[in-house]
């Protein structure tokens, strides 16, 4: 019987964080079921197409699985799937991941895709592989959408399993040295939970996990993280959880367990802005002592009106200050993610966000920002409203290639409106950057910064944006960090044009 599965992770824009956790997680139950698994990540495999061709030439290959996020990953997925179908028309090609789950029928339309695994894939995919290995069809396999004699069949949803029942992802399959060479640091990604209890309108998480926080126990998390850090000599572990500290007691217990293990490594996570406030100052310091160096917060806006529009009323302004204060006291860096251009947001709302965020940054040295233009991902529940507002929804798998995070397809944010937002944003970031960095830089740049400080502060406060001579001057000397990884706080290589 055939016993081999090939998994492919197409190239995302930007450098990889680490090995693709989704595929390692998928590989683990397959290995348990007795299959061989080849994982190919385009980020570290320059000749990935020939590598895949080589792997699938193996007659034992059951199928090719490809994980896809909305945006540029689709391009690589399509190229590889198409070529595979040309060379091995009988070999099933299965798509899974966020994008296919959100738009299964549309994704299944091209003839180079045979089936979609929707949602959490660990259980479903093993069942899919077992069927295919026996030469059977996928009728009745819950959580799949597949073609049956040319017709698209959508099977019933598979309930999300408690992730404590799933094995540790197959980290041993990844070439950790290759990622270390590219990233310059030995880093792992890991997830202690899936799901988030909130239902922010811009977010796709609820579509996958139905607002259920599904988390590993603290003791298993500690044992696995400590073991991984030691086995792979990781300097840092980035948690991919949607909202790590939802269970505050669990989060603190994990930190305490890592601290008490005596194994020292850095770790980072992302969260919504309210949970840190439920920890005592001492508990936040336990996070720091256990190695937390950065936290990313999906703050998105500081305008109460916009937060209400986003269905994000659980987040209060005072919690943003309190979060920054607690983190500063424990010397943990944090990044506030901001979304601009949400439908219904006015310029007054943006000014309010800049004002409050600027104030927080003045009070707390450890704060950075990562502003983004609102990206309407597939499957979010405000699409009817967006269509009414004139947003053109991509109509095919190919068209979604051009919608990476931050791509501006918002008809209400163009022309003069967009130009003013860009100026405000640039002044805001410049203001925070020169305020932070004046101390230790060379005298010429320091001098320039000193000259700029007063007028830039005035601009940010009063919102006078005409004749932006400071920006022209600063562009020569400053490299503005416009976007940051919410997981690790690292600057992402994007120009201002790509942000807006």
């Amino acid at each position: 019987m055939k016993n081999k599965v090939v998994l492919f992770y197409p190239r995302y824009d930007g450098p990889p964080l680490s090995a693709p956790l989704c595929l390692l997680a998928l590989a683990s139950p397959l290995l348990d079921a007795g299959y061989r698994v080849a994982v190919i990540d385009a980020a570290i495999t320059a000749d990935y197409e020939s590598r895949i061709a080589q792997e699938i030439a193996d007659p034992d290959t059951v199928c090719l699985g490809i994980s896809v996020l909305t945006g540029p990953m689709i391009r690589g997925a399509i190229r590889v799937a198409r070529r595979t179908k040309q060379e091995h028309p009988q070999l099933p090609v299965i798509f899974g991941g966020w994008h296919p789950t959100l738009l299964p029928e549309q994704t299944l339309q091209p003839d180079f895709v045979d089936a979609i695994v929707r949602g959490q894939g660990e259980v479903t995919f093993v069942e899919v592989v077992e069927r295919l290995a026996r030469g059977d069809g996928l009728e009745g396999v819950r959580g799949t959408t597949h073609k049956s004699s040319g017709k698209v069949v959508s099977e019933a949803e598979r309930p999300v399993v408690n992730i404590n029942q799933l094995p540790l992802p197959a980290y041993h399959l990844a070439e950790h040295d290759a990622y270390a060479r590219i990233c310059g640091i030995r880093k792992l990604v890991y997830a202690t939970s899936v799901g988030c209890p909130y239902a922010c309108h811009y977010c796709t998480d609820q579509v996958f996990y139905s607002r259920r926080f599904n988390a590993l126990t603290a003791s298993r998390t500690v044992a696995e993280m400590v073991e991984l850090a030691q086995r792979y000599r990781a300097e840092e572990i980035a948690l991919l959880d949607s909202n790590f500290p939802v269970d505050v007691h669990r989060a603190v217990a994990i930190a305490r367990g890592i601290f008490e293990s005596g194994v020292r490594f850095r770790w980072t996570f992302q969260a919504s802005t309210d949970f840190l406030c439920r920890m005592s100052d001492e508990e936040v310091q336990v996070l720091a002592a256990s190695g937390v160096t950065h936290m990313g917060f999906g703050t998105e806006s500081a305008s109460l009106e916009v937060l209400a529009l986003m269905n994000k009323k659980h987040q209060r302004i005072d919690q943003m200050y309190e979060t920054a204060r607690k983190a500063e006291k424990a010397s943990i860096h944090l990044t506030f993610n901001l979304i601009f251009g949400y439908p219904g947001e006015t310029e007054a709302d943006r000014i309010e966000t800049f004002r409050i965020m600027g104030d927080i940054a003045r009070q707390f040295w450890n704060v950075s920002f990562s502003p983004n233009i609102f990206t309407p991902y597939p499957g979010i529940d405000i699409w009817p409203q967006l269509r009414e507002l004139g947003v053109r929804e991509p109509q095919s798998l190919e068209e979604w290639i051009d919608l990476p995070l931050g791509q501006n397809i918002l008809p209400w944010l163009q022309g003069e409106e967009l130009r003013r937002l860009r100026s405000m944003l640039e002044y805001f970031l410049l203001h925070n950057q020169i305020r932070k960095a004046t101390k230790n830089s060379r005298w010429m740049r320091a001098g320039l910064r000193r000259v700029l400080t007063a007028p830039v502060r005035w601009r940010v406060r009063t919102n006078h944006l005409a004749f932006p001579w400071e920006l022209w001057l600063a562009r020569g000397a400053e490299k503005l960090v416009t976007r940051r990884s919410l997981l690790t706080g690292q600057p992402l290589g994007h120009s201002m044009d790509e942000v807006c």
Binding site: F259, R264, E282, Q285, V286, A288, A330, S331, N440
Partner: protein
């Protein structure tokens, strides 16, 4: 040859008041650290400066033990170490210099080093261990003894100078040890107890040893800094404490001092201790410190069964207004009640008193004198408010602090900020009140303790009260943080 030489900087003979009192105790905090290291397979020697000459003796200890590392690890259970006296800081600096000259790396822990890490680091120690540091010391030493130079960033609870710019870096604060049972008993076998026994027997006719049953204090008196054990309270099991009492009894101790910030916080624990002590026949008369509101009748009777002979309580003031301003969270009536409960069980009741709190007036001072006269404590410790780093009060008066920010020894009693009266007045008050209490508790046979001598001292207080008023005392009362040395006095 050993891996680590542990030492500390408190030398009794550099502190004239303590020479008079002659109550030396082995460096308990240092011995706890030594015990933990030894438990983890690190060979340890201790050079104890309490009674040994800290300069020549340290050089000799270096030559004798040839350690790979030196740790100046202060006894943070001893209030004398916690006072951050400048004379002892000089000793620590001297040790750093001596060890460095011999090419041996040094790490430092203590209240003063935690508050002034930069000073110590600039003297050449590799890193300062901040706060409670047994586990930090273990981790640092394991790293230093390992094959690679340590990555200091990764070790929680230290301060170090980052190469090459020399910026001071403090790593994440280390959480407190929650389960004290994980620590072995202090390594008392590493110090010579004989000189202590002799000193005690000669001066007092008995031999006293120290131990602790808990760490930290959960109360928030707003003048108190807790740089080592924080605001949490963690207690050992009563059983283990009774076993250690038994052990010290076998060492020949006639008396024990519990160096806890606050002893027997919980009534139930006091009962468990009494039961365990009776079962093990471990009772030795002991002294400890607590709060007036904790001296309830059940607690006091349990303490009596466990051997308690003397309780020191932070009475602080006889003025409710001052107690409230301190966030002391006690009432004057509770002082009176505690004194009565202790009297009934034959336990000596002693007060810590504090003068000079901002907003304190002559009438408040008189209320305190009244309280002492009415309740007749067996002993008192008088001090003046003292701004400790890390308290809000310190931040507020930091501009008033002159070049002198620490007392040189424990008899100094200088006002470090602008109080309602000048130093002279508080010194006179201290002398008069002490002398009066002495007259009750000793036969008034010496001239100094006779009633006329005391009256003379009071006359001096009354006259200084008029002449020593500060021109611009700090406005008060403020509900802000003050620091005191009352808990350190006598």
């Amino acid at each position: 040859m050993v891996d680590v030489l542990l030492t500390h900087s408190y030398h009794l003979f550099y502190d004239r008041k303590q020479v008079r009192k002659m109550q030396p105790y082995p460096p308990l905090g240092t011995l706890y650290a030594a015990a933990l290291l030894r438990q983890h397979g690190i060979s340890v020697a201790v050079f104890d400066t309490m009674l040994n000459d800290p300069e020549e003796g340290f050089a000799a200890a270096l030559a004798r033990h040839r350690p790979q590392l030196v740790a100046v690890y202060e006894d943070s259970f001893n209030f004398l170490s916690k006072m951050c006296l400048t004379r002892m800081r000089e000793v620590a600096f001297h040790m750093i210099r001596t060890a460095r000259t011999a090419g041996i790396p040094v790490v430092v822990n203590g209240s003063d080093a935690s508050d002034n890490a930069a000073e110590y680091l600039q003297r050449g120690c590799e890193c300062v261990l901040l706060g409670e540091a047994e586990n930090t010391l273990l981790e640092v030493i394991q790293a230093l003894l390992g094959p690679y130079w340590p990555n200091w960033d990764r070790i929680p609870g230290i301060a170090f100078l980052r190469a090459p710019d020399g910026n001071l870096v403090r790593t994440a604060a280390r959480p407190l040890i929650r389960n004290l049972e994980t620590l072995p008993f202090p390594a008392r076998d590493l110090v010579d107890l004989e000189p202590y026994r002799k000193a005690w027997k000669n001066a007092h006719g008995l031999f006293s040893l120290n131990l602790v049953s808990s760490r930290g204090c959960p109360y928030r008196c707003n003048w108190c800094a807790k740089p080592i054990y924080g605001n949490a309270f963690h207690a050992r099991s009563a059983e283990s404490v009774a076993q250690e009492m038994k052990l010290l009894k076998e060492y020949g101790a006639d008396h024990l001092w519990f160096a806890d910030d606050i002893f027997a916080l919980k009534q139930r624990w006091a009962g468990e201790l009494a039961a365990a002590v009776e079962r093990l026949d471990a009772a030795v008369p002991f002294k400890m410190q607590s709060r007036v509101d904790l001296m309830t009748r059940p607690t006091v009777s349990a303490l009596r069964r466990a051997g308690c002979a003397e309780v020191w309580m932070g009475a602080e003031s006889g003025s409710q207004k001052v107690l409230d301003a301190m966030d002391k969270d006690t009432r004057v009536e509770q002082i009176v009640a505690a004194r009565e409960n202790l009297l009934r069980h034959g336990i000596r009741a002693c007060y810590f008193l504090q003068f000079g709190y901002p907003g304190e007036t002559w009438s408040d001072i008189q209320k305190t004198i009244e309280l002492v006269r009415n309740t007749r404590p067996d002993d008192i410790g008088v001090s003046v408010s003292y701004p400790l780093p890390g308290t809000k009060f310190y931040e507020r008066v930091v501009e008033q602090l002159g070049a002198k920010t620490n007392w040189s020894d424990s008899d100094d009693l200088a006002m470090m900020f602008r109080g309602a009266y000048r130093d002279e007045f508080y010194h006179a008050l201290h002398d008069a009140l002490h002398a009066e209490v002495e007259t009750w508790n000793h036969a008034a046979d010496t001239a100094a303790h006779s009633a006329p001598a005391v009256q003379e001292l009071w006359e001096r207080v009354f006259s200084l009260e008029k002449t020593c008023r500060s021109q611009t005392p700090m406005a008060g009362p403020r509900r802000e943080v003050m620091a005191t040395a009352a808990q350190f006095a006598d």
